[in-house]
Symmetry: C4
Subunit: 209 residues, 4 copies
């Protein structure tokens, strides 16, 4: 099993999923509209553009982490294949809840559905991470166990934050939507703890290169 | 004819076909729906998500086998090109019967159409496998003829199991649908015989690397 | 300008265009249909599947020729870039006339539009071929001028045959449609003259490898 | 962070965005149309084809510049990652304003929206260019500071020309549309100053190869 073709296939699914998001933004009907009506109708597209941008960054962040993870893989075993296929299935599904959120963002079930989809994706990513940690990173001593534990907690905090956002939806829908926008931005721009982890994580991969 | 570009093109078609599946899941109209109506309508999307997941794994399994097969190719001749193009045509078509099954899963002709599409895809894959076995594997002694024969039977059992599922649709539609879900899972998680075959198949390719 | 990224980008466009074809096959409405009605409606999808298959092979053949052509390129100059972008623009457009032909195959203007689109694509390919022949192949003596001339005629015969099919549409629509199916198959399965050309063409590229 | 996978992912998004443009061209309904009615309706698709071609070249030009820029990158840092993700988000969005322009090209807000989308994309590209210039090109002395300044002005002129086209839309809509067609063609076919810049820019990258 060639690691290169496996990475290329995964990258392909990430790149296609992220680009398909735009197809879910429906064009308003402006055929008989005056300029001011057209502006109003175009302005109503804004929630779609917001959910497009948010999911774009979500998939981008997942791709970045996927790539970091694969630095530790030296070969692709059957278990990695199966979990990765499951992860890609979740990633390729994201355009669907994104379209729903863009169109029916004021509907509680839709907001919950979006959050649960992303939480599930995060948990499947964690499954892949756990497997790689226990099968490759710890057994081959690629990183210090303490750094691994911190990275695992960090990784788990991602789907957990979506579950919190889902819970908050029952209290205040807008609070939940704000969290959906902020969560991927937070995981895109690493904090102090994250920087340290990244340094530690990157050292062995640099050594490998 | 560069083997690399040929693999990249094939991987591209597999990755795009698998990601396009999501576009066939139609969004329900929730514009005037109450929360409980929205939940009901979202729940009705479940057959779509099931057919999405099933076809995702179908294409994933085909891609895995395609990749294994290409380990044995040292160059791309015209016959491989033509059969492979035929195979990609079948793979890229899968989103269509998947959409039909998701929307009209209780219609006998649709269930039959889905099964026949996947059986045809499987047979075209077998055609490619037969050609590679007789043109490259056996003549160059890459694997023992007995292992090749077992692998051929295994490979043939895949489209045959879809034909059985199609036949069962005339007896009981649900039985057929359950089989559609199980078949790709079965070929994803290799049994005892398959493991042995994989070991034998992988040995020469490892030697090549 | 890296030849690798340029090839990868071109391959990507070919692979995506060929896979997007399936999205143009519309699903019939079978929600209230009996089994026999569903069979009738599914049977009416056949022209779509035929135009899908035909255009799939068209793009496949173009990709194969594109790949052969690029064996002769050692670097990407601005002219190649511009003509290639024009070619990709034509290739990426093919799903549109394909969708029209699948749905309105009995309309003369649609049949003419399909043929003209493919003829135009063929002429742009020829433009690229002429440039590569005069800038790289002849000046660097990669192939014998006589073989180059034969290959040029062969290449020109491709868009010409589409123009003939377009002309025949005014006499008999079905004749034209049959030609549309046969032309890509003919250029996929090389005749005696083509085989000789391929041999001659492939020699220097093999030497390069 | 592997530069190769990063380039492959970016190339993928560019290639997919450019190929998805065709999906935004809606098929006219010709089911009951006579030949002359069909010709009229097909002719009305022309604005769609024009906006398709224009945006195709826009994305092509952006890809070409993106590629040149990446010649100067030796590694991918977090800042490049984030700006690049923002750029890809703008590029993947282009099919949406393109669809609007094709369908409602006589609506002032739509014409303005198209121009602003492309201007924004251009500014994000400039952000990436500024960062790469100050972090890599100038500090490592890859190009002469004077040539860098000229290239920066050239790069800034691209989004500025879209802002001018947007401004002209309020005076004369057609003038604005003509500019939209001409701008990407102008940046595709380099003028005298651009040629000199390209030469200067390409020298160090050639040296690197």
């Amino acid at each position: 099993m060639s690691l290169n073709r496996f990475e290329a296939f995964s990258d392909g699914v990430f790149a296609i999923a992220v680009t398909l998001l735009v197809l879910e933004i429906k064009a308003p009907n402006l055929s008989q509209a005056t300029s001011s009506e057209a502006i109003t109708k175009l302005w109503q597209v804004f929630p779609h553009i917001l959910s497009y941008s948010t999911s774009f960054i979500v998939i981008g962040v997942l791709w970045l982490n996927h790539q970091t993870l694969f630095h530790f893989l030296k070969r692709v075993d059957r278990t990695v294949l199966v979990i990765n296929l499951l992860l890609l299935m979740c990633v390729a599904f994201i355009p669907y809840p994104t379209a729903l959120l863009g169109e029916f963002g004021s509907s509680l079930p839709v907001v919950v559905f979006y959050g649960l989809s992303l939480a599930l994706t995060g948990f499947v990513y964690n499954l892949l991470w756990f497997y790689v940690v226990h099968r490759y990173i710890l057994t081959e001593g690629l990183i210090h166990p303490k750094a691994t534990r911190q990275a695992t907690l960090w990784s788990l905090s991602y789907p957990m934050s979506y579950l919190i956002a889902v819970g908050l939806a029952f209290v205040n829908l807008n609070l939940s939507l704000v969290l959906y926008v902020l969560i991927p931005l937070f995981y895109l721009l690493p904090g102090i703890i994250d920087r340290q982890l990244i340094e530690k994580l990157e050292e062995p991969s640099k050594a490998r290169l």
